[in-house]
């Protein structure tokens, strides 16, 4: 039987990879000890063993060996940027392939593989990875932590994350990032992909890393922070990480269990098959995590906006307390809305009413947050630097994305736009404008520190911003319009009547891709420019 043969090959490859990874890690440990013997940094977890001043804050290869928080943050940032470019390349490829109604550039199988890699890499690799990176990088300075943050565990979790990302890339699954049950277990090229279970294993690695890192974040925030910093003086970025971490810890394990059940069902189908429609069981378990992850992707961006806005407006955040309340309410409400992804699956009227009402309620804390930003913008004088452009664009995109999103919680409208490009437009507004935009804003702010005193080319950074913002609009507005007329998403080809929308979106996608190339050139080229800047930045100190 071909399946068990593949399973054996793949399982043994996986085991070898795993063992090699750990061997490499322990060799690196030796090397790291050699690096550290010069300085007086001890390996014990006693207080003050990793003083902030001793942490290296620049991008360097030793960041992959040292395991203080800053080095681990840099690792995550670099890795997630690489995943972002791989996923982005897949996205641009899909856009070009959709220029004509019938697939020409890519075969349907290739298209579906790119579709899956784009979704999984962007969410699990880029959005989650950049959050972990920024969290590890910023929290120790913001909270003036003078203690070791379980560095060895963090380090192992990073290698889990990397292994997971590599498994996602190389296993070439075509089951999309949902991995809905009967399709994922069709181990053929026409179904879920030959090795879609390996992608699931990769996702399990990444979720493990996310969950354990979240526990460590909570430890850093609540146990390790400077004793003079009361809870009421905690930076809002730390509050956003609190919400994110609790959301991850409370919902990711459900998805991990479901993934494990799907892998088990390959060998012995018991969990999701049967006479009573239990195929929906996987969908329910998946969305219990699948919706919180989009809040996981935006909440740290909210925190970054709260930290950066006052620096460029010259006034403190309009209301600190409503900022905290908004972030904590988002944590509570966003955990209750996941059922709105299954409105049309026939789970009953009560299900529809319950989850559509909670989906309306979750807008309230989002609106509190947005109004807080607008009031902050209103109260001061805006300095239009490159990060500030990204912030304003993030707020505008979040408002558009939020309005297009809340429309879907109406069950009547949902029947018309569920599964169409309208949904794609909605979450690309939020994930491109908010998550990606704020990650770039943070990278630009941190650039002098990351590069050891270099400065990025401001004109190129402006061009990057303009192409990213314009590309987002050119790509997503045709999607939204076409989606309202019934243009289905996740298709390798489409009805000829939708060609103009798809062509406009393809142009937007290419603009977007060119913008990211400018960022890449700017990011690497400026590393070799002369040192003109002190390696201070405004993001690493707490805002209060």
């Amino acid at each position: 039987m071909s399946f068990s043969f593949q399973l054996a090959i793949f399982g043994s490859t996986l085991a070898v990879l795993f063992v090699m990874g750990f061997l490499l890690y322990f060799f690196a440990q030796d090397y790291r000890k050699k690096l550290l013997t010069g300085t007086q940094v001890s390996q014990s977890k006693t207080e003050n063993n990793l003083m902030l001043s001793r942490m290296r804050r620049e991008i360097s290869l030793s960041a992959f060996i040292l395991d203080d928080s800053k080095s681990i943050g840099i690792r995550y940032l670099i890795t997630s940027l690489i995943f972002f470019f791989i996923g982005g390349l897949a996205g641009v490829g899909m856009r070009i392939s959709l220029w004509f109604p019938n697939p020409t550039f890519l075969t349907p199988v290739q298209y579906n593989i790119l579709l899956t890699e784009h979704g999984t890499l962007m969410l699990y690799g880029w959005a989650s990875g950049s959050i972990l990176g920024l969290g590890y990088y910023l929290l120790p300075s913001m909270l003036k932590i003078r203690r070791d943050s379980l560095g060895v565990v963090n380090s192992i979790m990073f290698w889990f994350f990397l292994l997971g990302g590599l498994l996602i890339i190389f296993s070439k699954s075509s089951a999309t990032w949902y991995f809905y049950y009967p399709l994922t277990d069709q181990l053929t090229e026409t179904g879920g992909g030959m090795f879609s279970f390996a992608t699931l294993i990769g996702i399990l690695f990444i979720l493990t890393s996310l969950t354990i890192s979240s526990v460590i974040f909570l430890k850093m925030i609540f146990l390790d922070r400077d004793e003079n910093m009361g809870l009421s003086r905690l930076p809002l970025f730390a509050w956003s990480i609190v919400s994110t971490a609790i959301l991850i810890i409370s919902s990711a394990p459900i998805s991990m269990i479901a993934d494990g059940m799907v892998i088990y069902d390959l060998i012995n189908p018991v969990f999701f098959t049967g006479s009573n429609g239990t195929a929906l069981g996987y969908a329910i378990m998946f969305w219990f995590w699948g919706h919180p992850i989009v809040y996981v992707a935006v909440l740290p961006a909210f925190g970054l906006i709260y930290e950066l806005l006052p620096k460029y407006v010259g006034k403190p955040v309009y209301s600190y307390s409503s900022g905290v309340i908004g972030l904590l309410l988002l944590l509570v409400f966003s955990a209750t809305v996941w059922g709105h992804h299954l409105f049309n699956s026939g789970l009953g009227t009560v299900w529809d009413i319950l989850f559509s009402t909670t989906s309306f309620i979750v807008v309230i804390p989002s609106a509190i947050t947005v109004f807080n930003w607008i009031a902050t913008l209103w109260s001061g004088r805006i300095r239009l630097t490159v990060p500030m452009m990204f912030i304003i664009n993030a707020i505008v995109d979040f408002i558009i994305g939020g309005v297009t999103g809340v429309m879907q919680s109406d069950v009547g409208i949902n029947e018309l736009i569920h599964g169409t490009y309208w949904v794609t437009a909605h979450f690309h507004f939020i994930l491109l404008g908010m998550t990606t935009g704020m990650a770039f804003a943070a990278i630009y702010v941190l650039y002098p520190t990351l590069s050891g005193g270099k400065m990025y080319n401001i004109n190129m950074a402006r061009a990057h911003f303009i192409l990213t913002a314009a590309g987002t609009y050119v790509m997503t507005i045709p999607w939204a319009l076409g989606g309202f007329l019934g243009m289905p998403r996740r298709v390798a080809g489409y009805f000829g009547i939708f060609q103009s929308y798809q062509d406009a979106a393809a142009i937007g996608g290419i603009i977007l891709g060119l913008g990211q190339l400018i960022f890449l050139i700017n990011f690497t080229y400026s590393m070799y420019s002369p040192t003109i800047h002190s390696n201070e930045n405004i993001l690493e100190e707490a805002s209060l």
Binding site: P182, N344, I368, H418, G419, G493
Partner: protein, 146 residues
């Protein structure tokens, strides 16, 4: 309470009022249109029943007189229809943009949905739940005869 807090309460109140209106409108729509949203099969479907089976990759329609069509749904205008939708293999999702109806096709979990076409013509119909290699070709036409 200072001006700042009052302003915050005003905008929170405004948002709550708009959303409460939207939520109530939505809940009353669901109550009054229970037939027009996807629900598990009930005992007495209204109107003419058409059995729909989704498979990789196509739609099969079985009418009451026993005839079947593939990827083509033939209806008469001003008649109430109930589709009973199920699947042979993976999860599919039948979507007819013109009538604004959408229903998941899940093996072992038949769903029903009712609607009433009013204007004759030819409309598109498609699968909007990803279902494998030829997901994009799982589409067809709805013909409404006068």
């Amino acid at each position: 309470m200072n001006n700042k807090t009052i302003l915050e309460f005003i905008w929170i109140g405004g948002v709550v009022i708009i959303l409460a209106w939207a939520a109530i409108a939505n809940a009353s729509y669901i109550y009054s249109h229970q037939d027009n949203i996807a629900n598990p099969v009930a005992n007495d479907p209204s109107g003419t029943v058409i059995n729909v089976t989704g498979y990789q990759w196509g739609w099969q329609f079985t009418y009451q007189n026993g005839t079947t069509t593939t990827d083509k749904l033939i209806l008469f205008s001003n008649t109430t229809y109930t589709l009973i939708v199920t699947s042979k293999d993976v999860i599919h999702d039948l979507y007819i943009p013109k009538f604004g109806i959408q229903v998941y096709a899940v093996a072992g979990h038949p769903n029903q949905i009712s609607f009433k076409p009013t204007s004759p013509g030819q409309y598109i119909m498609e699968c909007v739940e990803y279902c494998g290699e030829y997901h994009y070709e799982m589409r067809g036409v709805v013909v409404v005869l006068p």
